[in-house]
Amino acid sequence: MLTVAIVALVKVIVVLVIFLLMIAYLTWWERKLLAHFQVRLGPMRVGPHGLLQPLADGLKLLFKEDITPAGSNRIIFTLAPIITFVPTFMVLAVIPFGKSITLFGKSIDLIISDFNMGILYIFAVVSLGVYGIVLAGWSSNNKYSLLGGLRSSAQMISYEVSLGLSVIGILMLSGSLSLVNIVNQQDSILNWYIFRQPLAFVIFLICALAEINRIPFDLPEADNELVAGYYTEYSSMKFAMFFLGEYGSMINASAIATTLFFGGWQGPWLPPVVWFLIKIGAFLSFFIWLRATLPRFRYDQLMRFGWGILLPLALLNIFITAIIMVW
């Protein structure tokens, strides 16, 4: 009992630390890569090639003045960043990041909790993340924030439907809701679900982009129309929490996409954990690449695209999968 608890605790701590480090260096990587896409250099001053930039940013944010606007709802205003930030951590609990290893004569699974309904759990936790944004928008007592919050909640609810439906094809093929089983089924590259569910992958990717508010779906925080959307009024550590939450959910989206479609930690030669990190990194770079390329959607286009194109496509995907399975 005690050893189980200790092992679990160690796993949680290690995963959290690595996750936070990844978030920190994701901001650096994004700035750097984006700069090179735009034929610039990006951060160069703090440390060699700006490697200590995340540290400097963090310190700067920590020492900024923490402002709570007058007329805002103080409790909810403080609560909102926490609500956006915590679910991103909770998603990590069910993502397998490696084959089980043997340590001190004990076999340890490289997953925090092998919950047999991993995918449903992820959806449950992710759906709670909307509240942070909505409440932040509402409690700031600011028109831009409220508009940003409303927009984002509408966007997230709309795209969550297609996101859920796009995964159902995989669930039908795998016959399991456990992410561990899904990864184990993709043992060779031909068994990766991207090849068996290409349409689902495209829908999943688009919906995931919309869920994590990345360009081209960054309407909630559209800088040039809404100042900064729902976090216009936020400063200092609270702003940092939104920032962490956003980049954390970006990593989560990559991790889930990797697990579902790209065989998770499966791969030859290299250790499984390394493969997992490489695949996540590729996804993150792809997101940044998209940011460097695509313009933002208009709001009505966004809604029409979500309900009019993605949802029918997702349903069609389920339909085709069912037909092929029964055949």
Binding site: H36, V39, R40, L41, T293, L294
Partner: protein, 145 residues
């Protein structure tokens, strides 16, 4: 239908364009360490020239002040020991100056020039009124004011 396919293909096309840009060398200049090569006719901070004897060329005729569209040049004439007219006071307000170079063109004796110096920022407004001592080219062996 063809329209749709075309607009869908626009996304990978755009991605390709940005991808090509990824490998271009950055145009950024790392400023304080590396400085931009200024063009030949760059107009920066003024300086007052001296003749071959090391005397000031300026005869305080006032043509530069007349030509100046922003009226930033102020001068008071004086007479030196040899009885020649010279500028006792010569001030240029660099905050008002628009660096048009008309003073340089107006000068009949070739005394005022616009140099290549552009790093003369300061946090006090008074420091931008450059006096004659600051504008004159230092004599060899003399330290610049």
């Amino acid at each position: 239908m063809l329209n749709y396919i075309n607009s869908l293909l626009a996304i990978p096309r755009g991605l390709l364009v940005t991808f090509k840009h990824l490998f271009k060398p950055a145009v950024t200049l790392r400023y304080p360490e590396v400085k931009e090569k200024l063009p030949e006719r760059y107009r920066g901070l003024h300086y007052l020239a001296r003749d071959e004897n090391g005397d000031e060329k300026c005869v305080c005729c006032g043509l530069c002040a007349l030509a100046c569209p922003s009226g930033c040049i102020y001068m008071e004439p004086g007479e030196n020991q040899r009885g020649e007219r010279y500028a006792r006071v010569y001030e240029i307000n660099e905050l008002r100056c628009i660096f048009c170079g008309y003073c340089e063109e107006a000068c009949p004796v070739g005394a005022i020039f616009l140099g290549k110096e552009y790093e003369f920022s300061n946090d006090k407004r008074e420091k931008f009124i450059y006096t004659k001592e600051e504008l004159l080219v230092p004599l060899p062996g003399e330290k610049k004011v």
